[in-house]
């Protein structure tokens, strides 16, 4: 089960907003993580580890920079809930084992609402509403459940 408060974003949140280009030459994800969403006051003010990012369509569009999901994971994001995700961001987050949740009604969720994600259901405890979430394809879910592509590959190797 994942529990946290909602940190809200709009549509087409691009990777430049998540982590600015000029920070990409810093030596490690840990050095970049404090700069995540540096120009989004709601994130910099309210985000705490475990919180859930809630966005509209096409979250993570733009560059291929894996640093974008990596800094959010490093900061302890519980999950990202969005109407849809951009392809490369989706793949990068899956590879890192960062839970992504597709839900078409994110506009009904309010800033700082208390959320709970359990199995196939997203529960907004502030409003009392419940939302069904789209399950990931089994191949992708297998990678996320392993904690990312690298533990997944290690697990497959151990089985072989």
């Amino acid at each position: 089960m994942i529990q946290g408060k909602a940190i809200k974003f709009g549509h087409n949140i691009d990777t430049d907003q998540i982590i600015g280009a000029r920070h990409l030459s810093l030596p490690a994800i840990a050095d970049m993580a404090p700069l995540a969403f540096e120009h989004h006051g709601n994130f910099t003010t309210h985000f705490a580890p475990g919180d859930i990012l809630v966005a509209g369509e096409n979250f993570g569009c733009g560059s291929s920079r894996e640093q974008a999901p990596a800094v959010l994971k490093q900061r302890g994001a519980g999950a990202i809930v969005a109407c849809s995700f951009a392809r490369i961001f989706f793949r990068n987050a899956v590879n890192l084992g960062l839970p992504l949740i597709i839900c078409s009604q994110t506009d009904e969720i309010g800033e700082l609402d208390c959320l709970e994600i359990d199995g196939g259901c997203l529960h907004d405890m502030t409003t009392g509403r419940r939302y069904t979430i789209e399950p990931l394809p089994p191949f992708i879910a297998g990678i996320v459940d392993s904690g990312g592509i690298i533990p997944h590959l290690r697990g497959k190797k151990a089985q072989a």
């Binding site: 087409n12 691009d14 430049d16 280009a21 990409l24 920079r65 392809r87 590879n95 690298i150």
Partner: protein
Amino acid sequence: MNVIEKILSAHCGGAAVRSGQIVTVDLDYVMANDATACLAVDIFNRDLQADRVFDPDKVILVMDHFTPSSSVAAANSHNRMRQFAAEQGLRHVYDGQGVCHQLMMERHVRPGQLIIGADSHTCTYGALGALATGMGSTDVAVAWKEGRIWMKVPEAVRIAVTGQWPAHVGAKDLILRIIGDLTAQGATYKALCFTGPAIAALGMAERMTLANMAIEAGAKFAYIHPDATALAYLRAAGRPGGHVFADDEDACYERSMEYDISGLAPQIASPHSVDNVGDITDFEGIAVNELFLGACTNGRYEDLEVAAGILAGRKIAGSVRLLVTPASRDIYLRAMASGIIGALIESGAMIGWPGCSACFGGTGGIIGRGERLLTTANRNFRGRVGSPEGEIYLASPAVVAASALTGRISDPRRIES
């Protein structure tokens, strides 16, 4: 199978594949640049505990986003790339020679290949009939080790383009119009296949512009059939060969879109989203502070030539800076030899060293609070090139050149020749 399925099939043992299927494919090249390579090196060494890359001839590293090193951190990361390249005996490492995608097109890509790169604009290589897509550093590190990667076979969208290209209107205007119509996520996970007589009429530089921006609608691949123009480009580059694939008779496309470009006006993408597109007539007169001609979108010889055609013998407005960055060393040399670079400098342009330059904001050309940048680059995201309180407008080389003369967004069709 359609041509996309056929190329993927050829890279996973030859059995038929269908859109929606997940396949493991063999890769012809794996490219990474200085915005993404060091993270991949960490993952390769520390997490994968890998020993050798699958083929030192097929792993390509390019320093272009922060080169020449724009900070101590960038210098250190460049040294880590050089060290990894030396340890692995990599044969193709480029430092300050140009934007990764331009170098890949000039020196490596062949029709029918399958390539991944840790950069979203890797889809550019579809201009030569190769399938290429951007992935993250973990996928690239896995591919360095294994030489293969999983991917979903995408649905294909056919974009048929007819008509005569109007004066001062080109591939940049068409792709902006298409992205405006598709929206920033309208082609997510799909392959965009550009076809028709108006595409066949384009030279390689404009085909690269078109393929380059497919990702801005979310696409995974761009594809243009490699015709005589493409094969002549490859021959001139001393790189004949490759495999030209074609649709089977039963080829399926998810949908088809049709464009007649005869009446197309120059297009502008306004802040802060690439799909925020309109005719230039909606934006004429907006004052700008900086103009940029370059990037993997529009930093080619032909782009510089278009700009020089408008700027030669004239002076840019005193209120603006014009930054011109050739996309590669070869382009730079050619443009110097033909007098284009001299003409641009005479008009008031600053010439940058080949690389990502003011598209990425990793080196020079950063804009300040409240400033407007009019650029031939591919992204106008808030804060991408400096202050989040600045604004970025995207346009063609002709629009950038015409606007440099006036200091305001200006229609190149109105410039007297």
